[in-house]
Structure formats: structure tokens, C-alpha cells
Symmetry: C2
Subunit: 211 residues, 2 copies
């Protein structure tokens, strides 16, 4: 299944799940694609198309079953599991990642952290011991993680990604401002606010600034 | 022009610009779509299609003129301008945003900051005075900004976005974990590492983990 679904669709699924979670908490049983689209600024047609990849959830003229669709999305995305996450690079950003409570609330548990600096390794942040970088491979072998968050400087990031992939990590969230490469079977996503801002300024400089 | 180019293409343009900047710095004059694609893990066909929106830069069988394409992309994205940025919400994340040097290096200059807490307003971070939230409108009127970074808690985010849009801010980078709404003419982008992780776990739970 994973080969058939475009990445842009996969990226929207967590947003659908989040909106449905809120609707379910508010006691809503059925939601139309119009309403769900309005919440997410996605067209109803796009929602219907996105969700059609996963089977039939809608009833013509009535809408989607909130609980049923949410349950299916949670299973599809693996949201009902517990994921182990390590942080590599415990500078200001890495520390903020370790301390952000939003990850654990969604099943992403910080289980290890690494830093190249002797001044940082040895510290404990929110119960996670920061280890030296040369312990990375042994630590991953002993206590595997599902996802690694890379918060090292740009110059060090590709080597870190290589070591994580070699150590069996299959999903890497890269905050370093480089387009990191990883072998097949390893998913890398980048968060780079500068790149996001640069895509926004494209719209700012357009005469109408619209969309 | 902005209405013709799909958002997914616009989002890739800063990555092309970054890769071309590196190639130009290394003295490269010409780059093939194969090589550029390899750097960015985008297919050569996709690169040719993306860049075709902006005119003809390639020479069949030879490649793209690095300097010419870079100059065009910088103009298209507004990368050669100076942009004024404010930060709303100076908690740990907002503080990290104010202190991150990568923004100013790319033309994004922090010119104002706001926080609802009396303990934070009044502080100065990297030369930027943090003001009280009730000064937001007057400050924007006096010293407009191009882009706002929203780093307030989820429950406060939509109201902040509304006030920023009403105050004339046309681009908003939202770190709060909500799908914020803004009026037409205002671009909102969200950075949410939890959502990004949730899209990755889709791949982790597939049998082969591949994509």
C-alpha cells in the first residue's frame, strides 16, 4: 500500500487525524468533507480523493463516520503505538526537543540523547541521559530507537545520518539545514524554518500576495 | 504567476536555490538535472518540470547554467531582499527562534517580539526588545513586519494569527499545533514536528519500510 499513496497525501493524514480527534472529543459523530475541509483549508474534493486511498468511509450526502475514520487513520499512521525516539545534538534546539511535552503525548517517547561535547554528555534532561557521540552505535544496538531527531550543525549532519542509518534507525527527522541523504528503507524528513520562510516570500513578492 | 505554480513546486524552489548556491560557491558553472536531482533526491524529470514553470534555463544535453538559474530563483523567491520578522510568544521555542543565526544569514531579520507574560516582556534578546502582547497592534502600525513567527501555546494561536493578519502581516509561520486560519491574502505555513513524525511512522509500519 505504501507505494501507491503520494507523499503529499501521507503528509495530510496526520492533520485529518488531529481534526477528527477534536471532533470526536466534541461528541461529533459524522463530519462532511466540506466541514473537514473548512477546518484544514483543503478542498472537499481533495479530502474525498485523499481518503479514497484507504477505502470507503463516506456515505453519499451524509458524511464521514468520525470514530470509524479516526480509528482507521490511527492504524494507518501507527498513531496507536509507542515509538522510541533519540535526539542527536543537544544544543539549544535539541534541548527544546527533549523538553517538549507534545511528543510524548502523541506516543513519541525520548529514550536516548547524544552530544559531541564533553560538557553536555553526562547531563540528564527530562530523565534522558545525554551520552557521548562515540557511544551512539553501542547504544542503538543495546536499545534500538524507531526515530532519530538530528539537531547537530549542518557540517556534522550527513555523517550523523549515515551513522544512524547504519545503526538501524529507519526514520530521521533532520533539523540541520542540509538535504541529507539516506539509504533506501530509511525515511528522512527535514524541518527547516528558513526554507519554509523562503517559500512564503515567493507569495509576498507576488503583486496580489494571494493564496 | 503565483496562481499557476503548484505549492509543492514552490516549496522545492528554496531547496534548488540552496543546492545551486553550494554549487556556485564550489565554482561549478553547469549542472545537469541528474546531478541536481541526486543532491536533492528529486527525479531529474521532476526538476525539469518544476523549472519549466519559470522559463528556459537548460540546454539539451548540457545542463543548467548555475549562476543564471540561481539568480532567477533568488529573484522569484525574493531571496535578495531584507525581510522583517517578528516573533510572538517568547517561551523556550520563541527564544530559540530569536537566537538562531540562520535566519539573518538568509535575509530574515528579527525586528520585534511579543509575549503575554509580564515576566518576559521587557527583556531584550539578541538586541530585540520583547514587548507586551497588548502593544502588538501599535507596534505593527509603527514598524510593520513582513513575516510573523507564532510560538504561543495552541489555545492562544488562532487569536494571535487573527491579530497579526488584522495588523497587516501577510506571512505567518505557525509553530503552534493547530491548523490556523487566516483571511485571503495571508499565507500561513505550519511547522509541527509531531505531524512530521506521524507521517514518517506511516512508512515505519509498512512491511518493507520503503517508500
Amino acid at each position: 500500500m505504501s507505494d501507491d499513496i503520494p507523499e503529499v497525501v501521507v503528509n495530510r493524514l496526520p492533520l485529518y487525524a488531529r481534526a477528527l480527534t477534536r471532533l470526536a472529543a466534541a461528541g461529533e459523530r459524522v463530519v462532511s468533507s466540506q466541514r473537514l475541509g473548512g477546518e484544514l483549508e483543503v478542498t472537499p474534493a481533495q479530502i474525498r480523493k485523499d481518503l479514497s486511498y484507504f477505502g470507503r468511509f463516506g456515505t453519499q450526502g451524509r458524511g464521514y463516520d468520525v470514530d470509524g475514520l479516526l480509528e482507521r487513520l490511527r492504524a494507518i499512521l501507527g498513531l496507536d503505538r509507542r515509538w522510541r525516539v533519540c535526539v542527536v545534538g543537544v544544543g539549544r534546539l535539541g534541548q527544546a526537543v527533549l523538553e517538549y511535552e507534545g511528543f510524548a503525548r502523541q506516543g513519541f517517547h525520548m529514550t536516548a540523547a547524544f552530544d559531541a561535547s564533553a560538557a553536555v554528555a553526562g547531563r540528564t534532561i527530562r530523565g534522558v541521559a545525554v551520552r557521548a557521540m562515540d557511544e551512539l552505535e553501542a547504544s542503538l544496538a543495546r536499545e534500538p530507537v524507531d526515530i532519530a531527531v538530528v539537531t547537530v550543525p549542518a557540517a556534522a549532519a550527513q555523517e550523523v545520518v549515515d551513522r544512524l542509518a547504519a545503526g538501524g534507525v529507519r526514520a530521521i527527522l533532520n533539523y540541520a539545514p542540509i538535504s541529507a541523504h539516506a539509504p533506501p528503507g530509511v525515511v528522512v524528513r527535514q524541518i527547516d524554518p528558513v526554507v519554509t520562510m523562503q517559500a512564503m516570500t515567493y507569495h509576498l513578492k507576488a503583486p496580489d500576495g494571494d493564496r
